[in-house]
């Protein structure tokens, strides 16, 4: 029996398991490319528009850091790659990470793998099969990306190269996951390590695009960008992900031979034997359960804010060059920088709102999973239990919103040499906080009174607010249809002057809705 016996059967079995999830990754990749391609051709379709864009971008380090090497801006296709490739590579990287991780380490951890290994399959078969499945998925990504790019009118040769470059990044990250799977004993650590690797790859390519290009050559994302699809079509960098993939897979197989089934090379790190001082109350529990996502979202919004903020200074120039953009900005072209900041801060607040709603819905998940039951069998009342979760959510959303504003202010402040902008824009962002809290309050109201429909109600409301905020003008939505969005009723700082009454009324409304939600929970059956 060879060490890969049975891999073929496993590949078919794994593909069957993935038939629901995989299409979404492919659709996501296709949409990302297609949407960007249509949008870019719309905005920068003419050589003059493209030349103006190049002029705006040159030397804007923050923007280059979020996008790609300037050379891509030579053609419209290249512009698409410039904007999208980093994110496409992250998406494909995550897809590969989950594909390989799920069918190797997760299976081993849950014992499903034991069932498989007890049949006539070889020691290497699950890993090899998982890598084959990842390879098949990457091929599909290449085809979908090619289709989306060529289908929206970009040159065929460049589109083939773009698809291949995306698949190349995927292969490199799949092989990295294969190694991480041997090292760590539980899937969370594997995903954490590969996630850091993907993030590092993004940062390295950013460093290469701003400064010394050598950095980009250390990054699978950089390899893909530096094939320069549509802007020179350079094929040879595709060798790099293939070579790296081969080496890493070889390493993974060697490591696999050196460890026991179910173990990692790094043993699982035991946790605390006793609870810390803070884990003693419903709020302590709420913090413990939400802190990971609160810290993550706060950091993410800070970075996003820095990215948006770094663009604020050049936005004036940019809008003068691209008058069509002005229609998306509240307040039009007149107060360009302030309208721009108002829009991006609103978007950040919506993201913070979405994360806060996810935090509030955790309470519902605690209820349906049965984890809340033993807590409520102690001296903790339902009000205190929900209060613990929601307090953490509300406070966390305040921190996240402030971080987003701070990020905008830091980057904008550096650009215009005015450090005071940091605190100013943090304050400006907090103007949106009462609306964020109202989103949370509506989720709590739904948990109290419509528990089974709570997730749909809460997320529909978030989606509605997002549509109103971002598309109401471009879709020409009638005025009345926007009125249910709390964000509409708050001043759009820093464009509008801020007055206290709308903020106080919105906060009071949120408090009233929260109270109603708590009352609903107190009177209904718990757990269903």
């Amino acid at each position: 029996m060879t060490t890969t016996a049975g891999a073929g059967i496993l590949v078919r079995f794994m593909l069957r398991q993935e038939r629901r999830g995989l299409p979404w990754w492919l659709i996501g990749s296709g949409l990302l490319v297609g949407y960007q391609s249509v949008g870019s051709q719309d905005l920068y379709g003419t050589p003059e528009a493209l030349a103006k864009l190049r002029a705006t971008m040159t030397g804007n380090a923050a923007l280059l850091a979020m996008s790609g090497p300037e050379r891509l801006l030579d053609t419209i296709g290249g512009e698409v790659v410039f904007e999208i490739f980093g994110f496409l590579a992250i998406l494909v990287g995550l897809m590969n990470m989950f594909l390989v991780g799920r069918h190797t380490r997760t299976d081993e951890e849950t014992g499903r793998g034991e069932l498989i290994r007890s049949t006539r399959t070889g020691r290497h078969a699950p890993l090899v099969a998982a890598l084959c499945v990842a390879g098949i998925a990457d091929l599909a990504v290449a085809i979908v990306v090619f289709g989306a790019a060529a289908g929206t009118g970009l040159p065929v040769a460049g589109s083939v190269l773009l698809g291949a470059a995306a698949a190349g990044a995927g292969i490199a990250f799949a092989a990295m996951t294969a190694v991480a799977v041997q090292v760590f004993e539980n899937p969370r650590s594997v995903y954490g390590a590969v996630g850091i690797a993907i993030g590092t790859a993004f940062v390295l390519r950013a460093a290469g695009d701003i400064g010394n290009p050598v950095w980009s050559w250390l990054s699978p994302i950089g390899w893909g960008q530096r094939t320069f699809p549509y802007a020179g079509d350079r094929w040879w960098p595709l060798v790099l992900p293939l070579a790296a993939g081969a080496v890493l897979v070889r390493v993974a197989l060697i490591l696999l031979d050196r460890r026991d089934f179910g173990d990692g090379l790094l043993p699982y790190r035991p946790g605390r034997a006793t609870a810390s001082w803070a884990l003693r109350s419903p709020i302590g529990l709420g913090w413990r359960l939400q802190r990971g996502s609160i810290i993550g979202w706060t950091a993410g919004l800070l970075v996003l804010g820095i990215a948006y903020g770094s663009f604020a200074d050049s936005v004036e120039e940019y809008v003068a060059d691209n008058p069509e953009i002005a229609q998306y900005l509240p307040g039009g072209a007149a107060e360009v920088v302030n309208s721009y900041l108002a829009l991006v801060i609103l978007i950040s607040a919506l993201l913070a709102g979405a994360s806060a709603v996810a935090g509030a819905m955790r309470a519902r998940h605690e209820e349906t999973s049965g984890r809340a039951e033993p807590v409520l069998a102690t001296r903790v009342s339902r009000r205190a239990w929900l209060g613990g979760h929601v307090t953490v959510t509300l406070a966390g959303s305040a921190v996240a919103v402030a971080a987003a504003g701070l990020g905008h202010g830091l980057a904008y402040g550096i650009a215009i040499s005015d450090p005071a902008q940091a605190l100013r824009l943090a304050g400006v962002a907090l103007v949106q906080l009462p609306a964020v809290w109202l989103l949370v309050a509506v989720a709590v109201l739904a948990i109290g009174w419509l528990p089974r429909a709570a997730a749909s109600v809460a997320w529909t409301f978030v989606g509605y607010c997002a549509v109103v905020a971002m598309f109401a003008d471009s879709f020409n939505l009638p005025d009345w249809s926007r009125q249910a969005s709390p964000f509409v009723h708050l001043p759009q700082a820093p464009l509008d002057t801020v007055t206290a009454p709308p903020l106080l009324i919105m906060s009071a409304l949120a408090a009233a809705v929260l109270t109603a939600g708590f009352a609903g929970l107190a009177r209904r059956d718990f757990g269903y």
């Binding site: 951890e109 539980n186 605390r272 609870a275 810390s276 884990l279 807590v375 409520l376 001296r379 757990g527």
Partner: protein
Amino acid sequence: MTSAISLTGLVKTFGTTRALDELDLDVRTGEVHGFLGPNGSGKTTTIRVLLGLLRADAGTVRLLGGDPWADGVALRARLAYVPGDVTLWPAITGGEVIDLMARLRGGLDRRRRDDLLERFDLDPRKKASTYSKGNRQKVGLIAALTSDAELLLLDEPTSGLDPLMEAEFQRCIEEVKAEGRTVLLSSHILAEVEALCDRVSIIRLGRIVESGTLTELRHLTRTSISVETFRPLDGITGLTGIHDLTVDGRHAVFDVDTAHLDEAVRHLSGLGVRSLTSTPPTLEELFLRHYDGADKS
């Protein structure tokens, strides 16, 4: 004697399902009360009503002298609960869960906690996602047993425990009983019920169909008799409470209702007993009769 739990005419419906159908249950202070019944008969639902998680549609609920729906928090401070399937937070260790639950209940007795960890042989440093089913159950048990609550509500607390741990659990409940505390123990493990319970109640389709001490319940069943007599077996068919009788010359095999055992034995001894074996009903027989008997009624 006072009652720790007293339910009368308790009704709970879920949509069209009548999960509890005029249930009456009485658990006396200081006893270990077995709560038995087939799957889906309403044990967990009853316990959830007692915890104030579900609101009764009709009937009265008295728990430790109060109403768990109205004065829940004050009452729950005096009880501890173990669910049948302990679900834990994946990233929090067993030790942390035990401490948290104790603190939420009002205080942590660290000596007792460490003692129980040792007795149940549980590693408190593992994240819950890496515990096996049995180890998760141990976390729930230890969290409840570290408390000095007057009332323990245990819903199939030993599902998934190995025999060694099952024995340890029984020792713990003996200690709880010796301290005069009350236990409501829902269980499918008859040996556990037989070893621990002072009284049992059997629930079927949301109703209590039998309640009493095990001895009392045994009386409601039959004893198997195999007998050989000196004189011919006259008149035996005329006895009341005799079932499944087969007579072969002077040898007879039959079941007799425990209530009529005395009468039957007197009659047999009048015929001169050469040999007699009597087999008391096993607990299994007792329960199996209740578990599927009522389907026919």
